[in-house]
């Protein structure tokens, strides 16, 4: 039986377009923060770190055995200063490629994605990651969709995943059908349940505001 996907793998997978394998359109840095949050969530459910509104603490610095997570656990554990979650989101978001690429590689190794290289105008290289078999993505979308449309309690894992997905604005893409239009309040309630996801949302919003402000400064209104 295949080992369950980590949050990091799930975010990487759900951030890709079903058909083309291209990354779904997201606000600037949203995916970087989403992936950073996913790493922290994976470390938290592995019992390696714990969080509250003010700090992230290391509970157990011994490696998890998962190469997707252990470099980041080692990095956090090596810092003698206790920082809030937002600090580590920023650190990991700055290293998005180092988080994302190993997760993509593992999804290919698992047979969930395939790598596809194309050329635009015969010159510009374009790499895509279409799904081999979309059942993992369909399964998680169906499960989370039922949770959003219903009134059931989420289990902690689904609460974390919904919170991360909303934090990096992926819910806007994944749950975009008309049936979800009236469920914004329910989605907001579910997304509040995990602290890391809330911090991802705050960091993403701050980045969007900062970019918007910079653009308004650079391009004065006519």
């Amino acid at each position: 039986m295949m080992k369950p996907l980590t949050f990091t793998e799930e975010i990487v997978l759900l951030a890709l377009d079903d058909q083309t394998g291209a990354q779904l359109p997201l606000p600037v840095t949203a995916l970087a923060y989403g992936l950073a949050g996913a790493v922290l969530a994976d470390l938290a459910v592995a019992g390696k770190i714990d969080t509250d509104e003010k700090k992230l603490v290391v509970l157990d610095a011994t490696p998890t055995g998962d190469p997707l997570l252990d470099p980041w656990l080692a990095l956090i554990a090596a810092d003698n200063t206790v920082h809030p979650v937002a600090h580590w989101l920023s650190v990991l978001a700055d290293r998005q490629r180092e988080v994302e690429q190993p997760a993509l590689d593992r999804l290919i190794d698992r047979g969930i994605l395939k790598r596809q290289d194309k050329k635009i105008l015969w010159v510009i290289g374009l790499r895509r990651y279409p799904t081999v078999d979309g059942h993992e993505r369909t399964e998680v979308r169906t499960r989370l969709g039922q949770l959003i449309l219903g009134e059931d309690l989420p289990d902690p894992r689904d609460a974390i995943l919904i919170s991360l997905l909303r934090g990096c604005r992926l819910t806007d893409q994944i749950f975009a059908g008309p049936e979800f239009a009236s469920r914004e309040q329910r989605l907001a309630t579910l997304a509040k349940m995990d602290l890391v996801g809330r911090e991802v949302a705050a960091a993403t919003t701050d980045a969007i505001i900062a970019l918007s402000s910079a653009m308004n400064t650079a391009v004065p209104h006519m």
């Binding site: 459910v45 509250d52 309690l153």
Partner: protein, 108 residues
Amino acid sequence: MQISESEVGGVTVLGLSGRLDGLAAPELEKKLAEVVAGGKDRLVFDCAGVEYASSAGLRVFLLAAKQLKTRGGRCGFAALTAPLREVFSVSGFLDILEVHDTVAQAAA
């Protein structure tokens, strides 16, 4: 964290005191597994002594509520301290979990 177990009107009550953090959460999760394995379908957490709850602690609370509800039971949270009420509020737990002022109300 100290965990005590009692019964009020046939409802299992787990009394918690101290810090429900990442070090204490596995112990509470183990206790929850025992309660669930014992076939109990009504559980109340007496939170009057909870000084602090981290994300790990909140996950155990959510797990408990989910597991009990899945088996057709109920899980209540009673006598929340101010710090616990604050994290329940921020996390939206006040809106989705059964929260009561007293153990007697939660066990009713």
